[in-house]
Symmetry: none
Subunit: 196 residues, 4 copies
DNA sequence: CATGAATGAGACTTCATTCAT
DNA sequence: CATGAATGAAGTCTCATTCAT
């Protein structure tokens, strides 16, 4: 029995993230992914049902992990709502800083793909956003955050902002320091542009 | 007086926006666009060089217009920086409210496409963002906005936020009132989530 | 508008019969059919949904025609049942004599294909057999044919016999005269092997 | 005494017959055959050269056996030619009754396969038909059967008839009693449809 | 002998684009 | 300008076969 050496599944998934980031999902070729993962084209189909399945697994892994981390964070009684918001921002930045290609794939492909198909990664993603929403609600109730804001809207607001900055950074890593981006996001989220 | 014989070019472009929004650029078929525009498939190629050209023209029209409007707004001496920010937000919302399909195409396809090709619509888009940046700078100089923020980052921040909310709204028009979104964006942009 | 010159649909169908006969349905390549029909590979898909559709159309054309001819024959009041049986045998022989490739495709592929899919050509085929059955019933009622035989069985008996002989002939056209085959079938069908 | 450790070769062959009958040779997957035989995919290739080889062995086993039985029958001096014909029909029916899947594989795949390749099972098959032919010749010489018939043609005639009925029965076992089929074939073969 | 993960050749099918009318 | 039949390049996916263990 030929033993599965190394971790082909992981190799393929990582290669897929890179190729999807470089060429976009639709122009990405399975053969290129296979080559980058040092496996035969057909081997991709041993581990994944089809091209779509690669993308789905990428997002599922991403949001399943993120949700897990976020839960740890949001349940931490020692933190204020404001500190938790900072934590969420850090959480997101840490993941995508480590894997800029993943940031690009997320920004460019997730919406487009989620629209057509109903996959289970969407559940994780939505739960992640729900969990973030809870933190904001908590902050409002505690009087930390303004009760004027709509939490539903805020979640798309802040997420879109972060997404766009990450995408810009991932595309031009030299134009902006990630740390500066992170700090500015935290500042803007909490204070807006008004002089405090 | 020009005889109104239908404007095929415009018909095709509008059909393209709808089909790209529905099916995504890559899955969209030229034949479907032609059908929706009530022309023959071949006629698309009388007015446009190829499929990419359709998308390019869509974005060029969009940002050329937006830039023109923004220039009028930003050069208005009667407005404070803060009022101009409100104006920019209104500008964007007005365009995409009128044409939700365009919002979807913008959000889903522009990044993806801009990455690969170097097209002139990008100039207009960048100039639009530059012009917005100027307004922020002006606000900082006048002491209206905090000098702690990086204008470059802010432009991606606010634009990402708006984009994401528009996309969410365009995909689920009933989940949120556009007016509430607009108000919240204005509030958040200026005040953040802190209790004022 | 590029006009459909000649009859590409018919050309493709005829090429398909030849290629299916030569290589068998599963080993037959669309590209070879296209080449034999002097069209581009893609053109096959202008006229036919897919490879299966080619086979289905072949059988539909065949049995629709055969059924039409058989109805004319069986409704002819001037003929005895025995003469009608001869007529049916002639009918089948005439078609396949003209198109030996069709005989091979019918024998080799119809059963195999009919099993998996439920296509409308089967209706025509079954009706053809039903119509033949009627002739036999008529012969029994008139006292021409033995009442000892089961008409249902007879229809598969005679049809299998003819099919097998046609297939053998089509595969080795020189081993047997078609006329001799035809005569023997008529004789055997009516008299069996017993000395009369 | 040989230890009974299961007979993988036989298991695989029996599984192959079933799968070929169900799915057709070309759509049948080696992996499904292996699974049905409770062995690993690779084990199929320990016992058989390739997929074709499975089919060849199936037919070789079939006709080698059939030929052996037929020789016993045809050399039996105690039987008339007519009785021998009955015996041949019984012989064929007995085999396929016991193994309807084999009947389907025979009818659907043998012709198709025999055409392309030159395999040794064809020798056995031809010899089986030759041996049957001898019985008919003997019947003619003895004056039992009509000298008007061509023995070469008869062999394909009767074999086709039987094949078709077996196939019909194997596909729809409930539509006809096998006994009735057998009787009718014997009757038709000897007497034809004429009233005796 | 037995295994089953890995391979990679091969073919169907799609659809942007062309061009004769 | 307008048409839409025709094209053919290109990529996904399947699955028989191999081979290291």
């Amino acid at each position: 029995m030929r033993i599965k050496e190394g971790n082909k599944e992981k190799d393929i998934l990582e290669a897929a993230v890179k190729v999807f980031a470089e060429d976009g999902f639709h122009k990405a070729k399975i053969s290129k992914i296979a080559e980058k993962a040092s496996v035969a084209t057909g081997s991709v189909y041993v581990y994944f049902k089809n091209k779509d399945d690669l993308l789905i697994k990428i997002f599922k892994d991403l949001w399943e992990n993120m949700l897990g981390e976020l839960k740890l964070l949001s349940s931490n009684k020692a933190l204020s709502a404001s500190e938790k918001i900072d934590g969420i921002i850090d959480l997101i930045f840490d993941v995508f800083t480590e894997n800029p290609s993943l940031a690009i794939v997320f920004v460019n492909e997730q919406n487009n793909h989620a629209r057509t198909r109903q996959d289970d990664f969407i559940d994780y993603y939505e739960k992640f956003l729900d969990e973030g929403e809870k933190v904001v609600k908590e902050g409002i109730e505690k009087g930390e955050f303004s009760s004027a804001l709509d939490v539903k809207i805020f979640r798309y607001y802040i997420f879109g902002a972060i997404r766009n900055l990450l995408h810009h950074w991932a595309s031009n890593p030299k134009s902006l320091t990630l740390n500066k981006i992170r700090q500015n996001i935290k500042y803007l989220t909490k204070n807006g542009i008004r002089k405090v």
